[in-house]
C-alpha cells in the first residue's frame, strides 16, 4: 500500500508536510534534511527537484533552486542520493518539480526511478490535467506513483470535482492565488476552506502556500487534514550551522 494512503488511512488531523529543495543548502544535504524532518516529527516530506525557471515560486524557492542547481543537483543525482533511503526513512515522500526536467529524463524512466527509490507520489504543477489523463495516467499507476493536483480559491466546483477524481493521495489546496512564499492572511480564505470542507472530497486535503508558523498551521488544520510548509522552512535552513538541530527545532515549534 502506498505510504501516503497508509498515513491518511487512520484519518489523522494536523498532518505536517514539509517542502525542501534537493541539494540545498549544500549538495549533500538532501538526506540529512529528510532524516531530521522525520526525527523532528514531520509526517511527510516533499522534495523539490530544482528547475531554472520555477514559474509558480516566489523568490525564496527560486533562490534555493538556483543554488541547488549550482551545487550540481539534478534528477539523476537526486535518485543517486535517494538510493537505499527507505532503510531509514518511513514517512511518505513526494517529489515536486516542473515538467520540463521530467520530460527530458523521460516520463516512464522517471516513474520507474521513483518506484525503485521508494518515492510515493509526485506534484508536477505545470502538467495539465488533460495531458495526464490522456497520456500518462496508466504509467503513473503502473509504477505506483500518486499524482497530486492543486486547487485554488479560483477553481470552480466542477473542476475541483474533476481534480479530486484524478488526484491520488491527497489534494493540494493552494491557500490563495499566489506564488509560493507570500504571507497572506489565512483567515481571509475561510469561505474557500469551508467550501472545500463541505464538498467532502474523496481525497484528504492539505493546505499549502503561506503556511509559515504554528498559528498559520493551526488555522489551516481547522479546515483540512493538514498543511504544507515550504518557503518558511527553506528560509529557516538556508544559513543553518547545524542542520539536524535547525530542522528538528523548526518541526517541533509547529507540532508542539
Amino acid at each position: 500500500m502506498n505510504r501516503i494512503d497508509q498515513l491518511f488511512g487512520n484519518k489523522p488531523k494536523e498532518v505536517l508536510n514539509i517542502y525542501f529543495t534537493a541539494g540545498f543548502p549544500n549538495h549533500g544535504d538532501t538526506l540529512t534534511v529528510l532524516q531530521a524532518l522525520q526525527d523532528g516529527g514531520a509526517d511527510m516530506a516533499e522534495i523539490g527537484m530544482p528547475f531554472s525557471d520555477p514559474l509558480a515560486d516566489g523568490p525564496v524557492i527560486q533562490d534555493s533552486s538556483t543554488r541547488a542547481i549550482k551545487n550540481g543537483m539534478r534528477i539523476s543525482v537526486l535518485f543517486e542520493q535517494l538510493k537505499g533511503f527507505r532503510e531509514k526513512i518511513h514517512i511518505p515522500v513526494v517529489l515536486m518539480g516542473y515538467i520540463n526536467p521530467v520530460l527530458q529524463y523521460g516520463v516512464e524512466n522517471f516513474l520507474r526511478s521513483c518506484q525503485e527509490a521508494g518515492v510515493d507520489g509526485l506534484i508536477l504543477p505545470d502538467l495539465p490535467m488533460d495531458e495526464y489523463e490522456t497520456e500518462y495516467k496508466p504509467l503513473f499507476e503502473k509504477y505506483g506513483q500518486h499524482l497530486i493536483f492543486l486547487v485554488t480559491p479560483e477553481t470552480s466546483e466542477a473542476r475541483i470535482r474533476k481534480i479530486d477524481s484524478l488526484s491520488r493521495g491527497f489534494v493540494y489546496a493552494v491557500s490563495s492565488s499566489s506564488t509560493t512564499g507570500k504571507d497572506k492572511d489565512m483567515k481571509l480564505q475561510e469561505d474557500y476552506f469551508r467550501k472545500l470542507q463541505d464538498m467532502k472530497l474523496q481525497n484528504p486535503v492539505l493546505v499549502g502556500f503561506g503556511i509559515r508558523d504554528k498559528a498559520t498551521f493551526q488555522t489551516a488544520c481547522q479546515y483540512s487534514n493538514g498543511a504544507i510548509i515550504g518557503s518558511a522552512f527553506v528560509k529557516a535552513i538556508e544559513n543553518s550551522a547545524n542542520l539536524q538541530e535547525t530542522v528538528q527545532a523548526f518541526v517541533r515549534n509547529i507540532k508542539q
Binding site: 509558480a56 538556483t66 534528477i75 515538467i99 529524463y105 479560483e154 499566489s178
Partner: protein, 401 residues
C-alpha cells in the same frame, strides 16, 4: 483589414486543443487556469465581433498609421541583383510591429473588464507598445524587463516611463527576456482577477500564440494586396523575417503558409556563432520541451534546465521559439537560418547606407541573410522590416569603427 478569423483551416494553424503539430498546449499551473481559460473561451468570440473589428481597424489606420508601406528597395535590389521589397513595420507608431498586437489585446482586455495590464519586454519595443495603448485607454501598466535589457535599451525605458508605465527590473536568472516573462507570469498568478497579461510574441500558453499571430496577420494580408498592386502577382518567392519568439515572422507568414511556392525564411540570432556557447539560434540548439507553458523547441541542458541565450539584439535574446515556428521547422515548411551579431551589424549599416533606413538590430538579422539565399534576378523577396533602429543607436555607435 480583418483579423484572420476565418482562416483556421490551414494545417499550419492551431488545432482545437491548442497545438501546432506536436507543439503548443497550455502547461500552466492551476493558479493560472482561470485566467487562461477565460481568454481561451472568449478570444475568438470577441475578435469576430464586428464592433471589435471596426475599432481595431480604425486604430490601426488612424493611430498606428497602417497600412504600412511595401517599399521596393531599388539600391539594395541592385546590390543583390534581385527584387527586394521591405515591409515597413518600422514606420508604425512606436516603431515596430509590436503595436499591432498590443492594440488588439488592449481592446480585448477592455471587453473582458480588466483594469490592470502587465507585459514583459526584451528590446523594450513591446513594453513601449504596451505602455502606449495603456495610456491610450487609461489603464494601469506594469512592464517587466530584464536588468541587462534595461541597461542596453535605455531609450525605451525612458519612453515607457514617460508614457506612465511602471518598469520593474527582472533580476533573476539571465536578467533578460526569459526572466522578464517569468516575472510577468508570476505577477499574473498573484493577480488573477483584474489583470490582463499582454504577451508580446507568439509564445506562452494557448491561446496566446494563436491570438498574437492573428493580430499580427495584418502584415501578410497587406503584403499580399500590395504586392499584387505593384507586381501583378500576390505571391512572392521568399518572405524573410527575424525570429525571437516569432511574432513578426508569424504575421508575415500567416497568409502564405498554404502557398507552398512561397519560401518562408525564419532568421534566428546566432549571437557569436551557433556553437560558440553565446547564441540564441533555438531551432539549431534546442530540443522539444516546455518553456513559458508551451511545448516547443527550447535551448536546455541535458537535464532540462533552460539555458541562458545570447544575442546582441535584446528582442531575439530568447531561448525558445513560438510553437508555430517549432512546427514550421519540424515539418520543413519553414527554412530556418541564423545570423551572427556581426552579420546583423553589417546588414544594419548596409541598409542605412543604401536605402537611408536604419533598421532595428532584430530586423537586421533578417536582412543579413539576403546574401546567403542565392536570389535570382526575377525572384521577388519580401523582408519584414520589423522595427526601426533608434533604440539601438548606442550599440551601433559603439560598433562604428
Amino acid at each position: 483589414m480583418d483579423i484572420a478569423i476565418n482562416t483556421s483551416q490551414s494545417r499550419y494553424h492551431v488545432n482545437e486543443k491548442g497545438y501546432y503539430g506536436n507543439f503548443g498546449g497550455a502547461y500552466i499551473p492551476e493558479m493560472l487556469y482561470p485566467n487562461v481559460e477565460e481568454l481561451r473561451e472568449n478570444y475568438l468570440k470577441i475578435m469576430s465581433e464586428p464592433a471589435f473589428q471596426e475599432e481595431f481597424e480604425q486604430l490601426l489606420k488612424d493611430y498606428v498609421g497602417r497600412p504600412s508601406p511595401l517599399y521596393f528597395a531599388s539600391r539594395l535590389s541592385e546590390k543583390y541583383n534581385t527584387k527586394i521589397y521591405l515591409k515597413r513595420e518600422d514606420l508604425n507608431h512606436t516603431g515596430a510591429h509590436k503595436v499591432n498586437n498590443t492594440i488588439g489585446q488592449i481592446l480585448l482586455a477592455k471587453r473582458l473588464g480588466k483594469k490592470r495590464i502587465i507585459a514583459e519586454t526584451g528590446a523594450g519595443q513591446h513594453g513601449v507598445a504596451t505602455a502606449t495603448v495603456c495610456a491610450l485607454m487609461g489603464l494601469e501598466c506594469i512592464v517587466y524587463m530584464g536588468s541587462i535589457d534595461i541597461q542596453r535599451q535605455a531609450p525605451n525605458v525612458a519612453r515607457m516611463k514617460m508614457l506612465g508605465a511602471t518598469v520593474v527590473p527582472a533580476t533573476s536568472g539571465s536578467q533578460t527576456l526569459k526572466d522578464a516573462t517569468n516575472e510577468a507570469i508570476r505577477d499574473w498568478i498573484n493577480n488573477p482577477v483584474d489583470t490582463h497579461y499582454i504577451i508580446g510574441s507568439v509564445v506562452g500558453p494557448h491561446p496566446y500564440p494563436d491570438m498574437v499571430a492573428r493580430f499580427q496577420s495584418v502584415i501578410s494580408e497587406e503584403i499580399k494586396k500590395q504586392l499584387l498592386e505593384k507586381t501583378g502577382k500576390a505571391l512572392p518567392d521568399y518572405v524573410i523575417a527575424c525570429v525571437g519568439g516569432g511574432s513578426n515572422a508569424a504575421g508575415a507568414f500567416f497568409h502564405f503558409t498554404d502557398d507552398e511556392s512561397v519560401q518562408l525564411v525564419a532568421v534566428e540570432a546566432a549571437g557569436k556563432g551557433v556553437h560558440s556557447g553565446f547564441s540564441a539560434a533555438t531551432s539549431q540548439l534546442g530540443k522539444p520541451g516546455v518553456i513559458h507553458a508551451s511545448k516547443t523547441l527550447l535551448m536546455q541542458t541535458e537535464d532540462g534546465q533552460i539555458v541562458e541565450p545570447h544575442s546582441i539584439s535584446a528582442g531575439l535574446d530568447y531561448p525558445g521559439v513560438g510553437p508555430l515556428h517549432a512546427h514550421l521547422y519540424e515539418s520543413g515548411r519553414g527554412k530556418f537560418l541564423n545570423a551572427t551579431d556581426d552579420e546583423a551589424l553589417a546588414a544594419a549599416y548596409e541598409l542605412s547606407l543604401l536605402e537611408g533606413i536604419i533598421p532595428a538590430l532584430e530586423s537586421a538579422h533578417a536582412l543579413a541573410k539576403l546574401k546567403d539565399l542565392q536570389l535570382k534576378p526575377d525572384d521577388v523577396t519580401v523582408v519584414c522590416l520589423s522595427g526601426r533602429g533608434d533604440k539601438d543607436l548606442e550599440t551601433y555607435i559603439k560598433h562604428l569603427k
